[in-house]
């Protein structure tokens, strides 16, 4: 009930932002600690991404590029692991390359996560997959690798020569069958400029804030598919029938969005019920 001078309405108009932080924290962490298992829908973009991966043939050479720091990895890891799982099931040959120093240890996290599938499909290091490490420090490296791969990359991430691995079949951008880019925006534009625009098929899993900037590439056909943030990763996990960190987070994800909507509504009620009235009162008094 509103007190005189609009007590509750005043609070609704001017609530401390820390209430938002607390509410968001509770609604997101609660379902993580005690999962509910709410249903999700699958967006058309995720279905398109899944269809592209279904077309990967055994033996296809896939460049698995990690343009992310550890922070971004936590958002898109569901998409990364689900994609890797699918690629292993398709018996694709995968080369990991990273574009940030923090991401150098991420490929081994991915390999560990899909170890069971890799063992079942008899994946051998060098023959079926290889970890190249930090090979994209700048655009010049990406450009050089696109024109002559072996001039830029001669060793894997542990210093072992790549001669004798499946990378012997790679000379330039034309020899890759697919680029799967997982990005927070570090070297993605370089990969698009030097690979995708030259015709190398490319798919992407990006963080949420990048979706608006990457959608034009999807619309124009430069990207074959775009997996959108953690939600896309969760949808992909659902499609492949292998729940993981993405699906686990979707309950909190949904509740977080609803909590934010509620706070926006509260703010607007407070705005019309208190702030606007105060402004009208002040302008009347000024007259």
């Amino acid at each position: 009930m509103a007190k005189d001078n609009g007590g509750i309405l005043k609070w609704m108009a001017e609530y401390d932002r820390r209430y938002v932080y607390l509410a968001l924290f509770l609604v997101m962490v609660g379902p993580l600690l005690r999962p509910i298992g709410m249903p999700i829908s699958v967006s058309p973009d995720t279905r398109q991404y899944y269809q592209v991966l279904q077309q990967v043939q055994p033996g296809d050479k896939v460049f698995f590029t990690l343009n992310t720091e550890f922070s971004g990895y936590n958002e898109i890891q569901s998409g990364i692991i689900a994609t890797m799982r699918l690629l292993v099931e398709k018996n694709a040959r995968v080369a990991f390359g990273v574009a940030h120093v923090e991401a150098t240890v991420i490929p081994e996290l991915i390999v560990k996560a899909v170890q069971a599938e890799m063992t079942a499909n008899d994946y051998q290091y060098g023959r079926d997959y290889i970890i190249l490490g930090y090979i994209f420090p700048n655009e010049a490296a990406v450009a050089a690798g696109a024109q002559d791969f072996h001039s830029v990359v001669t060793q894997d991430w542990l210093g072992r020569p790549i001669a004798g691995t499946f990378l012997d079949e790679i000379d330039d951008w034309e020899d890759w069958d697919l680029i799967a880019d997982f990005t927070t925006g570090i070297a993605t534009s370089y990969l698009i400029n030097h690979y995708a625009l030259r015709g190398t098929p490319m798919i992407m899993n990006c963080i949420g804030v990048m979706i608006a900037s990457e959608k034009p590439y999807l619309d124009s056909g430069i990207l074959l598919a775009l997996l959108q943030s953690m939600r896309g990763g969760a949808e992909l996990e659902f499609l492949i029938g292998h729940p993981g960190p993405g699906l686990t987070a979707m309950d909190g994800f949904s509740f977080g969005h609803y909590a934010l909507i509620i706070f926006i509504l509260i703010g607007n009620v407070g705005y019309f019920g208190y702030t606007r009235q105060q402004q009208m009162k002040i302008s009347k008094e000024a007259k």
Binding site: R17, G185, V209, M210, A212, S213
Partner: protein, 261 residues
């Protein structure tokens, strides 16, 4: 494709032509040294108001120019930094310039130091220049945020002017600036940032407004020539879009084939 040009890779002729045309126009404008007219960007008034307000309250001004290397946005940020440094030197406010945030930021830092020092010298208050007010907060983005947010919490600035190339740290900085009660003026160099910064800032320079503001302030014929050429090509892009939409609506793919040449 409409036609192929011998010697040029298929599908790249129009791009090549456009690049040459842009280069030729920029060269023409630079060589004529004509001071191209650019309207005053409204954001500059907001910057002057913000610095004035900080001076009245006796609070410092924080101004950053981005975390990237020598890019288009960083140069715009440096031009605005120069303007702000002149203003703070005139008003006697303290200017803090957090630097760092990227691998290339170390290369830009000496230029920023020089800009601020020159501004203070030109205003006749060289003794007020303090090199410790241009702290380097690491070449790592998130460590930079930590330092930037920390300095805002400690000094409680009257205004925060964040221009140049900022990535995800822009949101952190804008929201913290709002929380400490400072006037927040930002520039969105990435489409991803624009939406969030538009909500978080008191004033935002969207996209080209920041380089245009930089060109306006610098009074450099080359920078203004660039802005003019960009405008011309944007008009060309609009014309191509309109023609293309009209052609496609009539079932003709001439424009599409022309652009794919």
């Amino acid at each position: 494709m409409l036609f192929s040009v011998p010697g040029i890779i298929n599908g790249r002729f129009i791009g090549f032509l456009l690049d040459i045309a842009m280069a030729a126009l920029v060269y023409y404008y630079i060589k004529t040294r004509k001071m191209v007219h650019i309207r005053r960007v409204p954001g500059l008034d907001a910057i002057e108001e913000a610095v004035g307000r900080s001076a009245e309250m006796g609070k410092p001004v924080i101004c950053s120019y981005g975390i990237g290397g020598f890019t288009y946005w960083t140069l715009a940020g440096l031009s605005i930094l120069s303007h702000v440094a002149h203003l703070t030197a005139k008003t006697g406010s303290r200017l803090i310039v957090p630097t760092g945030g990227g691998d290339q930021s170390l290369i830009v830092r000496p230029v920023a130091e020089e800009i601020v020092k020159t501004a203070y010298t030109m205003e006749g208050v060289e003794d007020q220049y303090n090199p410790d007010d241009l702290p380097f907060y690491s070449g790592q983005q998130y460590a930079y945020i930590g330092g930037y947010v920390g300095v805002m919490q400690r000094v409680r600035p009257g205004s925060v002017i964040m221009t140049g190339s900022h990535a995800s740290e822009a949101m952190n900085i804008a929201e913290t600036s709002n929380a400490v009660g400072a006037i927040t003026i930002t520039s969105g160099s990435y489409i991803s940032n624009v939406a969030a910064l538009a909500c978080a800032s008191d004033y935002i320079l969207i996209g080209e407004e920041a380089p245009a503001a930089g060109a306006y302030l610098s009074e450099d014929p080359a920078q203004r020539a660039s802005i003019r050429v960009q405008d011309l090509f944007k008009w060309l892009a609009i014309a191509v879009m309109v023609l293309g939409i009209a052609a496609r609506s009539l079932g003709n793919d001439l424009m599409l084939r022309l652009l794919s040449t």
